[in-house]
Amino acid sequence: MALVTDSAAVQQIHLPEENRKPEPQIAEHKRIDRSIEARLRGRVTGAFIVAVLLTIFVGFLSWRNARLAADDADWMIHTYAVMDTLELTSKQLIEVETSARTFGLTGQDALRAHYEAAKATIGQHQETLRHLTADNPNQQQRLDMLEPQIRTALEFAEGVVAKRLRLQESPDSRDILESERMMNAVRATAQEIQAEEMRLLSQRTQSTNARRRLTSFIIVAGILVGAVLLALGWLAVNREIDVSAHGREELKVLNASLEQRVEQRTTALQSEIIERQQAKQALARKAEELASSRQALEAQTLMLQSVLDSMTEGLAAVNEQGQFVIWNTAAEKILGMGATDLASPKWTGHYGLFLSDTVTPFPTEELPVLRAIRGDVSTTEMFVRNHRLPQGAWIEVSAGPRKDAHGVICGGVAAFRDITKRKADQREIQKLNDELENRVVQRTAQLETANKELEAFSYSVSHDLRAPLRHISGFSLMLVEEFGSRLDPTAQHYLDRIQSGTKKMGLLVDELLNLARVGRHSLSLRPTKLNSIVTEVTAILEPDTQGRQVEWIIADLPTVECDPILVKQIFQNLLANSLKFTRPRIGAGSSAQAGTHGPEHTVIEISHQVKDGQPVFTVRDNGVGFNMKYVDKLFGVFQRLHSAEEFEGTGIGLVTVQRIVHKHGGRVWAEGEPDKGAAFYFTLGAGNPVELKSTGATAGGQS
């Protein structure tokens, strides 16, 4: 028992361990957070770098293109300047030419001034041109070609002017043609230069346009990319805000749960500590208990041993393997030897065990202690004879299974005692019994004979005793009748006394015989309607009611299982009794006044009621009654409560009633009060009611 409690305590101590599981959720959260953070940080950094690079790139491109556009504009201005100068040069040259020719034709001085002014500007223009086209070797070459042509034209115009001045002559057609040709040449070269400049212009315009488009594209693209990045950044940041908000929430929850866990853990730990302390205390107590129970066990073992050894019955216990674990002193004494290590099949031979015939070895498998291991409880007698018990002994073995705490059979126990003396006694008893049996048979036969003799006796009483009475009665009557006139009154009176004496004796004999017959009568039970019996009896008693007013109150009686002949006797005796003792109640006046229920007329009531499931029948009268202190005498043979002068009778009628009632297994008793009446009650024990009607009494009058 102690062990079991200990392990329970240990279990209790270890119980909280189950709450000590690690909390992986938090670690997981941390791990997930870290990876998300790293990824996010990477992404954000990448996006930031891309955005910076893009901005630098777009800025650079814009800056460069702005520069290039400025250059282009410079170049275009330059080209336009070249073209303007060229055109101015051509116009001045034409002015010079025209002025020179017109002066040549007219000789007007105004023209010559005009010519001179124009001629002066051309030189300036030529220098400007040379300066403007300094970067372009092709144009320089063309200028190199143009400048001599201009010079030639100017020299020609000079010649015209000079010719006028000096010769007063006008230019001829040949001069004009010549001038025309020279002008055309100048024009052609100028156009060439112009064309070149135009080409350059167009080329620059084209490249400018292309660059502008590219720049626009880059800027737009840059802006778009920037916008996308910004948008992405916004999204990322937003998401991050969400994530961090969510994270904060989770964190809160986690924190809360963590706190809760910490709390729980703390509580658990506290209770664990308390439990450990309790367990420690319990263990200490257990240890104490164990120590004391060990002492108790030792004491018990000692006691058990002393009990076992002090037993007069032999006690042997075996374990499941059929090895003896207990073998007390008495066992050794009874069987003549101690416990054996031999295997069970050899026990019969070892101890010398035999069946009741004292010679057949006891079948090993049927040995009570081995049967007990199989779960049988048995008591067996056997005979033991071995070298220690050469005389042999009878033993009685009672064996039953031994069960462990779980009710599982773990062996068997056999108790045995030496019954050698008892066996001898039994034989003696058997002998005596047999003798007794014989005697009983003899006595029964004797009794049967005696019974037959008694029957014969009662038979002869009936026959032989009645006959002489009849003779006395007959001859005395004959004497009265035939010689009455010759007899004196005293003699007649004596004869009357003889008559009444014989009558009484006849009655007595009849009733005694009746009583004897009831005793011998064997019950023949059958369902009987009691009302029909009562009716029969009242008819028989009709003569006794002559000259009296008798009111019969007869209830509806049940049908019961009884012997109708005997029960009829009961009613006959009881009703006759009632009639007899109500004789003073002769009724008021004559029978013509039937129905007058005065206190003076006889009332006999027959009824029944159910008591304890059994019908109780009652015959009640309003006769002279009796004193209850004499009630015990009512049912005694020849016992009478009234003198023969008052009420004739034999004192046998009620005894007969009692005998019949007893024969039925019933009970009869009486109640009475002097001068008030008597009531007789009886049951018919054997006669259980076949059909019980309601106890409501139905009065049936008869008089």
Binding site: H463, P468, F475, L477, M505, D510
Partner: protein
Amino acid sequence: MNSENLDILLVEDNKDDMDLTLHALKREKLANHIFVARDGEEALDFLFCRGAFAQRSFEHPPKLVLLDLKLPKVDGMEVLKQVKSDPRTKNIPIVIMTSSKEERDLVSGYNLGANSYIQKPVDFDQFRETVKSIGLYWLVINQPAPVSSLTKAAGQASR
């Protein structure tokens, strides 16, 4: 004795009873011809017309047999048994008149074919009344079985 017009065969061993019965019967003037057998054997001889009564004929049986049960030699039951088991005599009315009211006597009497069973009352007045009633019934009121058929069968059987 004129046995041809026999009214009653009284089987009675007790002389007192015999006298009283005869006295009663005669007082009532019911039977003029009465034969008294004093034991069972005599009764049987009489009824079976043998021995001392060999000259008797089955053709003239008694109109009534009043039979006591307790009889010397052959008891009443045996007489009853023999009479009722013989076809020649079985129709003769037999009334058992005895002091005993033993049930077994009643039962065996009726089983053997007794025509009636009377317990002799102790009171002589009652006794006389009883005897009177029996005589009146069996000798006056009752119609006996025709004798001719009986005697034929009887004649064959007895010889």
